[in-house]
């Protein structure tokens, strides 16, 4: 298996701000490769450099062996791209959008007819081909946008937060599509800030403040965290995090929804000491139970360990 995407020390500055800082990774053919991180972590900037929308300040990137600086025009024929914002033409019908992208990607004749059928069926838009795209529900629009982005059957597909704003059901069916594209050999690079979505990726790049914090499969990322994690139910999670930070035996405390996840060196000792510590501050403590490390826990721990702060 060769590498579909090779990235070496890719960097982009905007003035003094380093949006992407010496990022290096490879993506194998047919892999689903995810970027996970908060807003401003550099996910979108990385994708834009690889799709030729932004020039890198320094470093190298290759897509299917083509250099992102020199061969941007040729790369654009071999990739599909779906931007963060829904970006089909709302005032064109479903068919007219397909026609436009077919023209731009040079798909025509019998191949276009076959691809059109595939897109319409995949997006669940049979019978709605003449409807204005702007009138479709968001989930349908996003599937149509994906269909238009892969109309020319590109070997590499870039999706920038493809499921933001759609409901969980639509997100699940969108992922079935991504999986089937990947099974058919398409390499998929996507960014997300949904942790549960990140679990579906074959490999995951954790990004924070422009840097690559860790890169591995989701199970192995979780295994990076050897210390146990306790989930603490408490009435005021932000104050609890404040109280626990720096307490003896506590390595890390962070918000997790309305609960607090505490990374500890000794689970049994901490379970005994935490309630007293919190109740002394006037907080009411509910259940405390060990939980499996989530990717978010890993993320927070790795970022702290690297001496950084999580933003966003």
């Amino acid at each position: 298996m060769s590498d579909a995407v090779e990235v070496r020390d890719l960097t982009r500055r905007f003035g003094d701000f380093v949006a992407v800082d010496h990022v290096t990774f490879d993506v194998r053919e047919g892999e689903i490769f995810g970027f996970l991180g908060p807003n401003g972590a550099g996910k979108t900037t990385t994708i834009k450099m690889l799709t030729g929308l932004l020039a890198p300040t320094s470093g190298e990137g290759r897509i299917a062996g083509l250099d992102v600086r020199r061969d941007a025009a040729r790369i654009r024929r071999r990739i599909g791209y779906m931007s963060q914002r829904f970006s089909l033409y709302a005032d064109l019908t479903v068919d007219e959008n397909i026609d436009l992208f077919a023209g731009l990607y040079g798909v025509r004749g019998d191949r276009l007819a076959a691809r059109r059928r595939w897109v319409v069926e995949m997006a669940g838009l049979a019978g709605r081909e003449r409807q204005l795209t702007g009138e479709l529900p968001l989930g349908f629009k996003q599937r149509l946008a994906l269909g238009c982005a892969v109309l020319h059957q590109p070997p590499v597909l870039f999706l920038d937060e493809p499921t933001s704003g759609v409901d969980p059901a639509a997100r699940r069916s969108f992922w079935e599509l991504i999986n089937s594209l990947s099974a058919a050999g398409t390499t998929v690079l996507l960014s997300t800030h949904y942790i549960e979505e990140a679990e579906y990726c074959n490999r995951l790049a954790l990004m924070n403040r422009g840097r690559l914090v860790a890169l591995d499969t989701p199970p192995r990322l979780r295994a990076l965290l050897e210390e146990p994690i306790l989930e603490v139910r408490v009435d005021d999670a932000p104050r609890a995090v404040e109280a626990l930070a720096g307490a003896p035996g506590v390595l890390e405390a962070s918000m997790f929804g309305r609960t607090v996840h505490v990374l500890v060196s000794d689970a049994a000792g901490a379970r005994a000491s935490i309630p007293a510590l919190l109740e002394a501050r006037g907080l009411r403590v509910g259940a405390i139970a060990p939980v499996r490390a989530s990717l978010e826990d890993v993320f927070v721990a790795l970022v702290r360990r690297a001496g950084g702060a999580v933003e966003g």
Binding site: L53, A73, S83, S87, Y89, E96, G103, L104, Y105, G106
Partner: protein, 371 residues
């Protein structure tokens, strides 16, 4: 350059245009509406000047003189006064533009072969109309009788100046206005049509999607130009029809030449709109800037209203970069003089330069880097 991609953009642009009411009005209704509106509103000819008459002589001759004024079509007697006291008030309130005073003894002086003076008091607030009114009145009074003197100015046997005016023998100002107006309107409409097109793509986020496809900058710019070029030429044709049929302006030159030179002009003007749109990335801003950037220069500096030869030297220099200037010369030349490229070639060359600059600016400004 790939024709398939270019056409894909052109077709998409045409469909979007068809579904956008604002653009459709701008493209098809506004040019002819503006032509009709300005064609009727702007005129340097003076008709039906409202005047009052203070006839202190009340003779057959004085009545004949007033009738002669009315019969000319230039004056319309709306009031008859009985004393000088009313004159100032009527003029001040703008009820009339002038008052003709026929003094007592007018008929007697005329019969005796003496100078018979009448007085025309004119509202000088509108100096232009006042001058024209006085000269019309002088001519009419002189025509009535050589013995009648207006405003104390004695008119001897009128010396006939053998003046002949070419191209526009009746000196109809509309003939001068309508061809120039077509050029002015098309400058404004063309830039406004394309001002929206790229900014809209930025605002809606579709530019990012386009930029990630293999389509090139020149393909996008030309693809977007194609439908608007068609509309622009259609507008010129409609304006030409309206100018000749409604306003009776002659079209003496070649239609083909008019079409080709219009095409050249539109390329530059539409390119300018795309440049503004791409540089500003906001539909509202681009619309306003393209209005200001085209409308005022086209009206003031194109030679449409003010003769360029009469401008101070620095301003004359500025007019050289106003594309409407060349198009005004072209439409007037083709409509009124019936001249061809042998005369209009400098304008044609300037318009080719303008088109090249417009397209280059449009393509350059359309950066594909998307932060």
């Amino acid at each position: 350059m790939d024709a398939v991609r270019l056409l894909a953009i052109a077709r998409k642009e045409w469909i979007q245009l068809r579904r956008d009411v604002r653009s459709m009005v701008l493209a098809f209704a506004l040019p002819v509406a503006l032509l009709l509106f300005f064609g009727y509103a702007i005129t340097w000819d003076v008709h039906d000047i409202r005047i009052a008459v203070l006839d202190q002589d009340a003779s057959r001759q004085s009545r004949e003189l007033v009738e002669a004024l009315e019969a000319s079509g230039y004056f319309h007697v709306t009031q008859r006064l009985s004393g000088y006291g009313d004159v100032d008030a009527r003029l001040a309130r703008g009820e009339v533009r002038g008052v003709l005073v026929v003094p007592p003894g007018f008929a007697r002086d005329l019969a005796a072969g003496r100078d018979a003076a009448v007085q025309l008091l004119v509202d000088g607030g509108d100096a232009n109309t006042a001058t024209i009114a006085v000269s019309y009145a002088e001519a009419i009074v002189a025509g009535y009788s050589r013995g009648v003197v207006l405003q104390g100015r004695r008119i001897e046997i009128p010396a006939r100046a053998e003046a002949r005016v070419w191209y526009n023998p009746r000196l109809e100002s509309r003939w001068m206005i309508v061809p120039g107006l077509i050029a002015v309107i098309m400058s404004v409409i063309a830039a406004m049509l394309t001002a929206l097109t790229i900014a809209r793509e930025w605002e809606r986020g579709t530019m990012e999607q386009l930029a990630a496809t293999p389509v090139g900058r020149l393909e996008v710019v030309l693809g977007k130009l194609v439908p608007y070029l068609g509309i622009g030429l259609f507008d010129v044709a409609m304006a030409t029809l309206a100018g000749t049929l409604v306003f009776g302006v002659p079209l003496r030159g070649g239609i083909l030449l008019l079409g080709v030179l219009s095409l050249l002009f539109l390329l530059g003007a539409l390119g300018l709109g795309i440049f503004i749109s791409a540089a500003l990335r906001s539909q509202v801003l681009a619309m306003q800037v393209s209005m200001v950037a085209t409308y005022l220069p086209a009206i003031l500096l194109s030679g449409f209203l003010f003769d360029i030869a009469g401008m101070p030297a620095p301003l004359r220099l500025v007019t050289r970069i106003i594309p409407a200037r060349y198009f005004v010369a072209v439409t007037r030349g083709i409509f009124l003089k019936g001249v061809g490229l042998e005369v209009l070639w400098p304008q044609a060359v300037s318009m080719i330069v303008f088109a090249a600059v417009g397209l280059a600016l449009a393509t350059r400004s359309f950066r594909k880097e998307i932060a």
